[in-house]
Amino acid sequence: MKVDTLSERPKLVMGPVLFHWDAQVKLDFYARMADEADIDIVHVGEVVCSKRMPFFDKHLPDVIERLHRGGKQVVVSTLALVMGGREAEMIRDVTAMADDMPGVLIEANDMSAAGLLAGHPHSIGPFVNIYNEGTLRHFARRGAVRVGLPWELPMESVQILCAHRGAVEIEMQVFGRVPLAISARCYSARAQGLHKDGCRYVCGDHCDGMDVDTLDGEAFLAVNGLQTLSHSYLDLSGDIPALQQAGVGVFRLSPHSFDMVTIAGLYRQVIDGKITSEDLQDRLFDLCGDIDLANGFLHGKPGAIFDELPDRARGE
């Protein structure tokens, strides 16, 4: 185990942009990722809603080229919920390119993409349910080189899956709001009395998701079109040493409207043992304002909870 963690430098990943940002904002974001961020892998591709794709697909070749010039591996993430013939066709098109794009890996986020990618090197994203060794083995045999584990797994499951990983890299999200659910129905549209077919792309009004509070005024969830996210921001910086020890080799940050270059640098320093989780959190509150942090899932508790460091999490 020790040889493993020393011989391979842990990788830092910028996950797919989950939100409907303006094309120019996304272009600027990827330019910074390419030129400034201490990141190994950058995801592109629309994961939440196929209606958003026409806004950015035309820029993808340039973005991928720029990221490659910046020395990043590029992963194309596919849709999490694939419905209907048109979306199925899109998945066939993107998975058909698996072998034609050097330096690009495709991440399957549903079972249609996973099935179509079998036999080619690919990645399985965290929207695909991998809860046990048998399922991990299935994907490893069919060409998965990396798998992102589901957000709700407790540490003991992560440890067991890592012990059975073989040559497969294990990835976990360590920062950002957690995707909790996806639906055929658009809740950004519904909140404004609109239907999905005439949504006016109102999901784009909220660059980190639309806040959802309980009737007692407690922050609870965040809505991003078809997707529902946690209101809190996952922060597993305090668990990174244990995750590395277990064999997690790839750490994902999920993009938000904050300074993700600096945030990536902070997580890199935690991975390298240069700063503590507390140092990182202090800086996060400076950078992101008064956000709630959570780590409950990994600790076997409700995902909304921040375990062990409650006072710091509230910004003191």
Binding site: L81, G84, G85, A184, L215
Partner: protein, 325 residues
């Protein structure tokens, strides 16, 4: 269309059989099934007796083993599959890929159905489960419209089963962590959603507050009927407006579109509700039996007969009609 009915207890199983079910589906009394509620589900002996009761009346039994096995605990789920086969159920309903692989390898002749928890919502995903595991039927996620179901049925080599009545997940099933986020107990891992042990009701002035874990799911005025705080059916605040953000308190009821479902090639109709009592089961099953018999005889179906059984006294056809989205 085949009528597939729920049973959480031996008494409900007999009620469903007597009311005209073609099939009854059940689960074992543990975390291997997605209705892992206290006092519910079947021991091995109870299932054996249930199968005998059903079989003498020409009714089939399916076993739902549709949660995702916990790492290092797969043997519990493997045992459930082995026992279901040796007890002689007509089909096993599975969601987990590792478990499907186990069932296929160990019991090549067993009839496997894909649970709604696998969220197979498109042609290629369904083809994958058919190719890899020989799945013979897929229970479709409650996200598809009639048009999309028709398209699917033209393109896939397996039967489709759709939800017809009862509680309605508005999120894609098997991919929802909302309950887990609020309570630490998850449909995928524990077989529970919005668990009763974490439900509290508080009186506050003349309002009633329903809570799940630490979160307020709804606040009811004196004149409002208090409902169970299922997370996605709660009332929340977004953009300064309070309301049922995800779904109104309502139940799925496809009685009005039964002919359309038959026309788009659906093989089986599933009634949700293994947690329901035998009186509820008897009434819902017999209402659907009557409706299906009338359709078979070329007669018109009477709608609204079950409206008193639905949450909020209102039925929806959900995603089957695109306007829902």
């Amino acid at each position: 269309m085949e009528l597939v009915c729920p049973a959480g207890t031996p008494a409900s199983l007999r009620a469903a059989v007597d009311a005209g079910a073609d099939v009854v589906y059940c689960g074992f009394r543990d975390a291997t099934n997605a209705r892992n509620f206290p006092g519910l589900n079947f021991s091995r002996d109870e299932l054996a007796e249930g199968i005998a009761y059903a079989r003498t009346r020409g009714v089939h039994v399916y076993l739902a083993c549709n949660t995702f096995p916990k790492a290092d605990h797969e043997h519990i789920w493997h045992q459930a599959v082995d026992d279901a086969v040796s007890l002689g159920v007509e089909a096993i309903i599975l969601a987990d890929i590792g478990l499907l692989g186990y069932a296929r390898d160990k019991h090549p002749d067993a009839r496997l159905h894909l649970s709604v928890q696998a969220s197979a919502s498109n042609v290629d995903a369904i083809r994958f489960y058919h190719r890899e595991f020989g799945v013979r039927r897929v229970v479709l996620p409650r996200v598809l419209s009639l048009m999309e179901i028709r398209e699917l049925n033209c393109a896939i080599p397996v039967e489709t089963e759709v939800f017809a009545f009862g509680g309605m997940c508005v999120m894609a099933e098997g991919r929802c962590l909302l309950s887990s986020y609020a309570t630490g107990e998850s449909p995928n891992m524990n077989g529970v959603c919005s668990p009763a042990a974490q439900v509290h009701y508080l009186e506050r002035g003349d309002t009633t507050v329903s809570k799940l874990g630490n979160f307020t799911i709804n606040v009811y005025g004196a004149s409002e009927k208090v409902g169970y705080p299922t997370l996605c059916k709660g009332r929340f605040k977004a953009m300064d407006k309070a309301g049922y953000l995800f779904e109104d308190p309502t139940s799925l009821d496809v009685t009005a579109i039964l002919p359309e479902l038959a026309a788009v090639g659906v093989t089986a109709l599933k009634i949700e509700g293994r947690q329901r009592g035998k009186a509820y089961i008897a009434q819902v099953v017999s209402s659907f039996r009557t409706a299906l018999d009338r359709i078979a005889a070329g007669q018109k179906v009477q709608t609204g007969t079950l409206s008193h059984m639905t949450e909020g006294m209102s039925g929806t056809t959900g995603a089957y009609q695109r306007g829902w989205q």
